[in-house]
Symmetry: C2
Subunit: 155 residues, 2 copies
Amino acid sequence: MATEELLQKALDAIGEPDSPLIKEVFDRLVTTDLPDRPMSVQEVADLLDASPHTLRYYERIGLIEVDRDASGYRTYDTDAVRRLVFLTRMRLSGMPIRDLQHYVSLVDQGEGTVPERLEMLLEHRDTIRRQIRQLTLSLAATEYKIATYGGETAP
Amino acid sequence: MATEELLQKALDAIGEPDSPLIKEVFDRLVTTDLPDRPMSVQEVADLLDASPHTLRYYERIGLIEVDRDASGYRTYDTDAVRRLVFLTRMRLSGMPIRDLQHYVSLVDQGEGTVPERLEMLLEHRDTIRRQIRQLTLSLAATEYKIATYGGETAP
DNA sequence: CTAGAGCTTTGAGCGCGCTCCAAGGCAAGC
DNA sequence: GCTTGCCTTGGAGCGCGCTCAAAGCTCTAG
């Protein structure tokens, strides 16, 4: 199944969030396209559309631990890459670095912190929803302006 | 017609962007709830959910000109408020201050710059759409995590 | 009349999230 | 062997968008 297709399924599933497909679809989305060999900092950066600087920065501030090869070069195993996928996803949706640091510290403290992690995620979910609502309004306002300027309507 | 209702109509209209309702609905959305007396900086700040500091800053950097009353206090007329509504909408959807300055300078240069303004708006529309897409993916990822933690599914 | 809150200005300060610099090591090609 | 380019580290620098400080004026309540 192609990534695009999975993505579309996932997006569809959001419309009906009770669908048991969500977990399955995302399990595959998340694990797809990750080579199971260790990756270099540049490779991961390309994968995440980030800069190597940023990945090193995330490591420095304790968001992730990364192994080194015999020469001292970073080697990102699958778990590390998966964590970075999650981290960048959260960053892209506006979660502050500070919160991510807290989240990661909760993960490090073990299963007992699952309720607090869950609480964070629920709050963040609301934040994302608010953002989407705001953006939708901004999109409408932009469409409106475009219309007043006689621009093309949306395709 | 209540603002909430207008808003819903507007959101619906986005689904079918060719609808001639968009302009009408937003005309009313934009002009609704604006008292036609001049407003103080604090009043406008409350209206826009911004700080007076921010409004003064926008003025300082040339995004808007604001009248003064006999005592030297800022008085925002309807046009000024409407411009600020637009500016904050664009800011909320991530348009950089620098671009807004350019846009405003185009407005100041008159009707001849309409094509370039239109171009900016079309580009920004795409940017907003990309953001919404990104946020939708982040929302899905968050839902997924919530599900793995056994949290409630979306209401 | 006076206290206190809010307004004015210019200029400086700050939090965030990178982003880059300097000095040096490792790997691959000529 | 040497060059070229990416890697390492710690620390410094930076762009953005506010946000606040200082010094002084104005309005309102008591």
